[in-house]
């Protein structure tokens, strides 16, 4: 590598907007859910699977999918996201009889009829899990880079100081979000990404 300095965007610090993607076919319900979630996060919406796939990128932290609609195939959305190397948590909207069956396939389930506060609580929880997943991955990559510089022969003091400063800032964020998770969530998210 000719240039050893990496700016925050290249490292992955503070460049994602951690959006929520709401995939619901019914226009009124989609607008209502988006309005509720916009109190906390940037929200994208999709009324079809093709729209959802077009919106699914590295900025999406939580995917909310209406499983009661035939329009969206949850497994296909997840598979496509994985192929694109996106890291997101999945919440399925489901009717009570099938909600339990979905819990093995999703990170969270929101049962119909959707209560605003339940939706916000669930998405906030998944958003923290998603941020932890991403931030831990970024921190590991930065630690690898730091190790390369420290054990190599070409790094200057300024280069090392720059990476150390990035590590310090990112670690503060990582520790905050990690500490906010319960034990089971933290272990599950951290160890499922390897």
């Amino acid at each position: 590598m000719d240039r050893t300095y990496l700016d925050d965007a290249e490292v992955g610090i503070g460049t994602r907007n951690d959006a929520v993607l709401v995939c619901v076919t019914d226009g009124t319900e989609r607008a209502r859910l988006a309005s509720v979630l916009r109190q906390d996060y940037p929200v994208r919406t999709a009324d079809s699977e093709s729209d959802a796939l077009a919106s699914l990128d590295g900025n999406v932290t939580v995917l909310v999918v209406d499983e009661t609609s035939d329009e969206f195939a949850l497994d296909r959305l997840v598979e496509t996201g994985t192929e694109r190397d996106c890291r997101f948590q999945v919440a399925a909207i489901a009717d009570a009889p099938v909600a339990e069956l979905l819990r093995d396939r999703c990170d969270g389930v929101v049962e119909n009829p959707i209560d605003d506060q339940t939706l916000r609580t669930t998405v906030r929880w998944l958003h923290r899990r998603g941020r932890y997943d991403r931030t831990l991955a970024t921190y590991y990559s930065l630690s690898e880079r730091y190790a390369e510089l420290v054990t190599g022969t070409d790094a200057t003091a300024d280069e090392l100081a720059s990476v150390e400063e990035q590590l310090a800032r990112l670690r503060e964020e990582l520790d905050d979000v990690g500490d906010s998770l319960e034990d089971g969530d933290a272990f599950e998210v951290a160890l499922s990404r390897d």
Binding site: S143, Y146, T151, R171, R193
Partner: protein
């Protein structure tokens, strides 16, 4: 202190999670753990030993000699096969130092192992110090990235409970890049210098953050 004469005591007092880099051969790692913890401005009132390749008994005797009698209790999470018999045999209460041993059948799955460690720390809460022996053993079971992720959660649980953690790694076993990578997780890195005379040596090294 005898093993770490140049240690920045204030940095150690402030640190929540400390990486102890020390060679396995020729050192009593058990005593190094104790030496660091006893030196603290506020020594722990309970020590949780996490042992993977040694018996809890290997730690208990040196720790009972190092900590003031009656001031510190001990418990263990052990993946070592003989810990059950140690637990059964260790029925004495030496000046109030009990030694409960929680046996974990295997390090894998590592989530379950980590949860057991987290539970033990949470049960004793603030004023507890956890001694993790060792990262070198852990890396026999999982790759560096998995160990890194696992450790971040364990360190977080220690911090959330107001406890402290000291984690041993054998510098002779791992390449420098691995040690540097792992060191970024810790508040402080303390490195024992094997080339100094026994009973009077040690070099502290601050972590990158």
């Amino acid at each position: 202190m005898t093993g770490f004469p140049h240690l920045d005591q204030a940095a150690l007092d402030d640190a929540t999670n400390v990486l102890l880099v020390a060679p396995e051969v020729g050192q009593s790692v058990e005593s190094l753990f104790a030496e660091l913890l006893v030196s603290l401005e506020s020594p722990p009132d309970h020590v949780v030993g996490v042992t993977m390749s040694k018996s809890p008994w290997d730690f208990l005797e040196p720790w009972r000699r190092s900590f003031p009698r009656g001031s510190t209790s001990f418990s263990f999470v052990s993946t070592d096969g003989i810990s059950r018999s140690v637990a059964a045999a260790d029925t004495t209460d030496d000046a109030g130092t009990g030694s409960d041993v929680t046996h974990v059948d295997d390090v894998l799955p590592v989530e379950a192992f980590g949860q057991t460690v987290a539970d033990e720390v949470a049960d004793h809460g603030a004023g507890t110090a956890m001694c993790f022996y060792s990262l070198t053993d852990l890396l026999e079971y999982v790759d560096v990235e998995t160990a890194f992720d696992f450790l971040h959660v364990v360190l977080s649980r220690v911090r959330r409970n107001g406890a402290r953690g000291v984690y041993h790694v054998d510098a002779d076993v791992h390449d420098p890049a691995t040690l540097v990578k792992l060191s970024t997780l810790f508040d402080l890195v303390v490195q024992f210098d094997r080339n100094r005379p026994p009973g009077g040596s040690g070099t502290p090294t601050g972590g990158p953050t």
